[in-house]
């Protein structure tokens, strides 16, 4: 029962924070709301018995990536007052129609799938040791590749953002 209540609370929180992200004028405020959304998601991961991922979510997403975002917003010396930027773009109606169609189809497909009635509470989660074993045995190669990827990202970031 608690699972359900926590799910609903966290779900509502997540969605409302997400809506505020795309509706705010000020990007810094959007960033804060996005952090809120991430934290709600971490809670949902916990609800799904994935503690490792919840931790990773908070540390990396909320902790590193959003900080990076805020730093970049600081670097961009935006002189213009923010309400000079119209929030939304042109061609609103075609995009809106496409978007609504898209969401409707997605939801229809999901709802049409007959999932078995096994409740989330009854199934088991995975421990860190299980994940680690899997990571370093079966997925060792992608693991090494991601380290390379991060190296490239670092170098690329430095090169691209350098002052000439």
């Amino acid at each position: 029962m608690w699972h359900d209540i926590i799910f609903w609370i966290l779900a509502v929180l997540c969605v409302s924070c997400a809506l505020c992200v795309v509706w705010q004028r000020n990007p810094v405020v959007s960033a804060v709301f996005l952090v809120g959304s991430f934290l709600a998601l971490a809670g949902l991961y916990l609800n799904l018995s994935a503690p490792f991922l919840a931790a990773i979510q908070v540390i990396i997403y909320a902790g590193a990536i959003m900080v990076l975002f805020v730093f970049v917003m600081m670097l961009l010396d935006l002189h213009h007052p923010l309400d000079l930027y119209f929030r939304f773009t042109k061609l609103k109606f075609p995009k809106l129609i496409v978007l609504l169609l898209f969401s409707w189809f997605l939801c229809t497909l999901i709802l049409a799938t007959a999932f078995p009635l096994a409740a989330p509470q009854t199934s088991q989660g995975f421990t860190i040791s299980q994940i680690a074993t899997l990571l370093f045995s079966k997925y060792a190669f992608p693991f090494e590749l991601t380290s390379l990827l991060l190296l490239i990202a670092m170098v690329g970031g430095v090169v691209l953002a350098k002052k000439k």
Binding site: W8, S37, L76, A119, P142, A153
Partner: protein
Amino acid sequence: MISPIGYSHYLILSAVLFTIGVFGVLFRRNLIIIFMSIELMLNSVNLALVAISKFTQNPDGQIFVFFVITVAAAEAAIGLAIVISLFRHKQTIAVDDINLMKG
């Protein structure tokens, strides 16, 4: 609320978050906000993966989420570096005004 939570609730939530992310990408002018919407989309996919991983009792889903987060981080770094470089050239981050590739 009355019925117990199952797969579909998590997946619907994921879909809703994804839609909100797409909305942000299509409709906002501010480039940073668009990036944030992209992160939101990635997160919705992560949620879906974890949910499916739990209900099919397959740990591969969680490993995949691990990798997605890593890649998202790298991508955010590079993307923001590009935004900085772009801002230095064009002095604007409104996507409407960044149309050098206009044919």
